[in-house]
C-alpha cells in the first residue's frame, strides 16, 4: 500500500476540523424551524402575527367619520388611507387610548408627497417649500380631505404660464388675476386686439395694503399718501412676486 504523504495529514485534519466547526455552528445557530416553510425561520411568522396591530385600517374610521371619508373619496386623495396622515390609530379606534390620532398641521408632512422632486410625474402638484408661502401651514389654504389648488387661474395661465408660476409661489398666490387686471371678455379670443388692462393707480394695491383695509393682519400696510411719492407701486414692487427685490 502506498504511504500517504506526510503533508496531507495535517491538511486533512485542518479541513475536517473546519468542516466540524461548520456543522457544530449550524447545529448551534440555525433555528430549528429554519427552512420548514421557505428560506426563513418558520416560527417568525407566528411571532409577527402575534404582534399587536397598531393600524386600524380605513374601514374602522368609516364608522364614525363617514362624512370626511366620503368627501375624501371624491378628491385626488381618494387613494390615501386615513392613517397615512393621521398615524396608527388602532388604540383610538378600540378605545384603549384617550389620545387622539395626530393631525399634521406643519409643513413637513405634506411635503413627503408634494415637496419638489424631479422624479415625480409631470403635473403632480409639487412645491419648493422655501418659495411657496414660507412659514404658512399647508392647511391654511388647502383642505387635505378635498385638496385642490388654493385658487385656480386656469384660463389666464394657459397663455401666461410663466407669470402664473411666479405668482403661484408668491404671497399673492391666492389673488385672482382679475383682482388687479381688468380683462375684457374678448381678450381670451382676440388677445392682441383686445388687451387686458393693468391697474393705473395705487388704489388697486391699496385695497389690501392701505392702512385701514380689511385684509388679513399678515398683509403689510403702508401709508398710501406718504409711501413711494410720485411713483406707482409696480415701479418698485413686482406684483407677481412681491418678495423679489428689484
Amino acid at each position: 500500500m502506498r504511504k500517504i504523504p506526510q503533508q496531507l495529514i495535517p491538511l486533512a485534519v485542518l479541513f475536517i476540523v473546519l468542516l466540524g466547526v461548520l456543522v457544530v455552528a449550524r447545529q448551534l445557530f440555525v433555528p430549528k424551524t429554519f427552512g420548514d416553510l421557505g428560506h426563513y425561520r418558520a416560527t417568525a411568522v407566528d411571532e409577527v402575527a402575534a404582534q399587536p396591530a397598531a393600524y386600524a385600517g380605513y374601514r374602522v374610521c368609516l364608522d364614525c367619520h363617514d362624512d370626511i371619508y366620503q368627501r375624501k373619496q371624491l378628491s385626488s386623495h381618494a387613494g390615501l388611507a386615513c392613517e397615512t396622515c393621521h398615524g396608527a390609530a388602532a388604540a383610538h379606534a378600540t378605545g384603549e387610548s384617550d389620545q387622539l390620532p395626530t393631525v399634521p398641521r406643519g409643513r413637513d408632512h405634506c411635503q413627503l408627497c408634494h415637496g419638489y422632486n424631479s422624479a415625480r410625474p409631470t403635473g403632480f402638484p409639487q412645491i419648493l417649500s422655501n418659495m411657496h408661502n414660507p412659514g404658512e401651514a399647508c392647511v391654511k389654504c388647502h383642505d387635505s380631505h378635498s385638496p385642490r389648488m388654493a385658487k385656480g387661474n386656469g384660463e389666464c395661465s394657459a397663455c401666461h404660464q410663466m407669470i402664473a408660476n411666479q405668482k403661484a409661489v408668491s404671497s399673492h398666490m391666492s389673488l385672482d388675476c382679475t383682482d388687479c387686471h381688468t380683462v375684457p371678455i374678448d381678450h381670451a379670443t382676440q388677445p392682441r386686439v383686445v388687451q387686458a388692462l393693468k391697474p393705473n393707480s395705487e388704489e388697486t394695491c391699496g385695497k389690501c395694503h392701505a392702512r385701514g383695509s380689511s385684509a388679513g393682519a399678515e398683509v403689510a400696510r403702508i401709508d398710501m399718501a406718504e409711501h413711494g411719492g410720485r411713483y406707482l407701486c409696480w415701479e418698485c414692487h413686482y406684483p407677481h412676486l412681491p418678495e423679489a427685490k428689484l
Partner: protein, 415 residues
C-alpha cells in the same frame, strides 16, 4: 425672502436630473464601494492567472513574479469582500450564508466560491510552494518568528526529495484547479451584472467574458507595477526578460479585451434596441470622461501604443521600463474606469429610458471616497507584511550598481 437666497436654495435642492427618473432611481444605491469590489476581485483573478502562466504553462521568464503574484492575489482577496460588507452595513450577517446556504441566490453562492478560492486554491498553493522554506525558517529563526513558522508548517516537516516532489506536484494540480476557479471568481462578478435582464447597460452574455479579460489585463498590469516598484524600493535590478514578457502579455491581453468590448459595443449599436438613445446620451454626457477619456483613450489606446512601441520597438531599457511603468499605471486607471462605467453607468439612466441622474461621490462616510481609497491601499500594506514573512524574491537578484562618488575636490570645484 431674498430672491438670491431663494434661487440658490432652489438650485441646491434641485439635483442634476435630466428627463424623467423613477423615484427609486433618483439616487444611486450602488456606490463607489461596489466599483471597488469588482476592481479588487479582478486584480486577484488576474494576478493568479499570471502566476499560473509560470506554473502550468511553463513561461520561465515570469519566474521572478510567480510567488509575488500569489501573495498579491492573496492580499487583494483578503480585502475584496470588505467593500461589500461596508456597503451592506451588517458584516456579522455575512457568515449566515455559510450556515444557511441559499442555493437560488447567486450572491449567496459567491460566499462559497470565495471560500473555495481562498482556502482551497490560494492558501493551499502558497503553503505547498513555501513549505520547504517555512520548515527551514522554523528551524533557523528565533523567538516569535520561530513559533509563527512552526505553526505554519502544520507539523509537516518532511523535506525528503519525495516530499518536495509531492509539494511541487500538488502545487501544479492546485494551479490547474485554480485557473477555472479564478475564471469562476471573476466571471461570477460579470455574471451578476450580466444577468440583470431589466438593465440594458448590464444585460449581456458577454459581460462575464469581458470582466474576465479586463481582470487579466488589470492583474498583469498590477504585477508589472508591483514587481518594478518593489525592485526599485529594494534597490535590485529589474529582470528585463521578465518585464518584457509581462509587457508582451499585457499588450495581447489589452488587445483581446479591447476587441471584446468593441464587439459588445458594435453589437449593441447594430441591435439598436429601444435603450440605445438613452445609452448614447449617457456615454456622450455623464460617462464622457470616465468612458471615452479614461477607459478608452488613457486606459486602453495610449498603453496599447506605448507597450507596442516599447516592447517591439528599439529603445534603451531605461526608456522601456519607464514606458512599461506608465502604461501599467494607465491600465489601472482604465480598468478602474471600466468598473466605474459598468457599476455607476448602469444606474445613471432611468429604466423608463427617459432620463439621466447624477452620482454624487461623497468624500467621507462609509460609502465615500476615503473608504474606497483606504480599501484600495490596504492590500498593499498586507502585501508588504507578507513579503516580510514569506519573501517571494528569487535568489540571485543583483543590486543596482551604485555610481562611484565624485572626488571631493571635484565636488568643491563644481560647487
Amino acid at each position: 425672502m431674498n430672491i438670491a437666497m431663494a434661487l440658490q436654495s432652489f438650485f441646491t435642492e434641485l439635483p442634476s436630473v435630466t428627463g424623467y427618473m423613477y423615484p427609486n432611481e433618483y439616487e444611486l444605491h450602488w456606490s463607489v464601494l461596489i466599483v471597488v469590489y469588482p476592481y479588487l476581485t479582478g486584480l486577484v483573478a488576474g494576478a493568479f492567472i499570471l502566476a499560473s502562466l509560470e506554473r502550468v504553462f511553463n513561461v520561465k521568464a515570469l519566474q521572478p513574479v510567480y510567488r509575488l503574484s500569489l501573495l498579491t492575489a492573496l492580499s487583494f482577496l483578503l480585502i475584496a469582500p470588505l467593500p461589500l460588507l461596508a456597503h451592506l452595513g451588517h458584516p456579522e450577517r455575512a457568515l449566515e450564508m455559510f450556515l444557511t446556504p441559499h442555493t437560488a441566490s447567486a450572491m449567496a453562492m459567491f460566499g462559497f466560491v470565495y471560500a473555495w478560492y481562498l482556502m482551497v486554491v490560494l492558501l493551499l498553493e502558497i503553503w505547498f510552494d513555501y513549505r520547504q522554506h517555512i520548515v527551514r525558517w522554523a528551524k533557523e529563526k528565533k523567538g516569535a518568528l520561530k513559533w509563527f513558522y512552526s505553526l505554519l508548517t502544520l507539523g509537516s516537516t518532511d523535506l525528503s526529495e519525495k516530499a518536495l516532489a509531492f509539494d511541487n506536484k500538488a502545487g501544479k494540480i492546485i494551479t490547474i484547479i485554480g485557473i477555472p476557479s479564478a475564471f469562476l471568481l471573476h466571471g461570477y462578478v460579470g455574471f451578476i451584472f450580466g444577468s440583470v435582464k431589466a438593465n440594458p447597460w448590464w444585460s449581456s452574455v458577454l459581460m462575464p467574458i469581458v470582466f474576465l479579460f479586463s481582470a487579466i489585463v488589470s492583474g498583469i498590469a498590477l504585477m508589472l507595477l508591483v514587481y518594478m516598484v518593489s525592485s526599485m524600493l529594494r534597490w535590485k535590478t529589474i529582470n528585463m526578460p521578465c518585464v518584457n514578457k509581462l509587457a508582451e502579455f499585457l499588450f495581447y491581453a489589452i488587445l483581446v479585451d479591447f476587441s471584446l468590448e468593441l464587439l459588445d459595443f458594435i453589437q449593441r449599436l447594430y441591435e439598436s434596441e429601444e435603450s440605445i438613445h438613452i445609452l448614447s446620451q449617457m456615454i456622450s454626457s455623464r460617462l464622457f470622461i470616465s468612458l471615452i477619456i479614461s477607459q478608452i483613450i488613457l486606459g486602453t489606446i495610449v498603453p496599447l501604443v506605448g507597450l507596442g512601441l516599447a516592447r517591439f520597438g528599439r529603445m534603451p531599457d531605461e526608456m522601456r521600463r519607464m514606458i512599461y511603468l506608465m502604461a501599467a499605471l494607465l491600465v489601472q486607471v482604465g480598468i478602474f474606469a471600466t468598473r466605474w462605467n459598468v457599476v455607476i453607468g448602469g444606474q445613471l439612466f432611468s429604466k423608463s429610458l427617459r432620463g439621466l441622474t447624477t452620482y454624487k461621490l461623497e468624500m467621507f462616510g462609509i460609502e465615500g471616497l476615503m473608504t474606497a481609497i483606504i480599501l484600495m491601499v490596504m492590500p498593499f500594506i498586507i502585501l508588504f507584511v507578507m513579503t516580510k514573512l514569506l519573501p517571494p524574491w528569487s535568489e540571485g537578484e543583483k543590486d543596482i550598481p551604485v555610481p562611484p562618488k565624485p572626488h571631493a575636490t571635484q565636488v568643491g570645484q563644481e560647487a
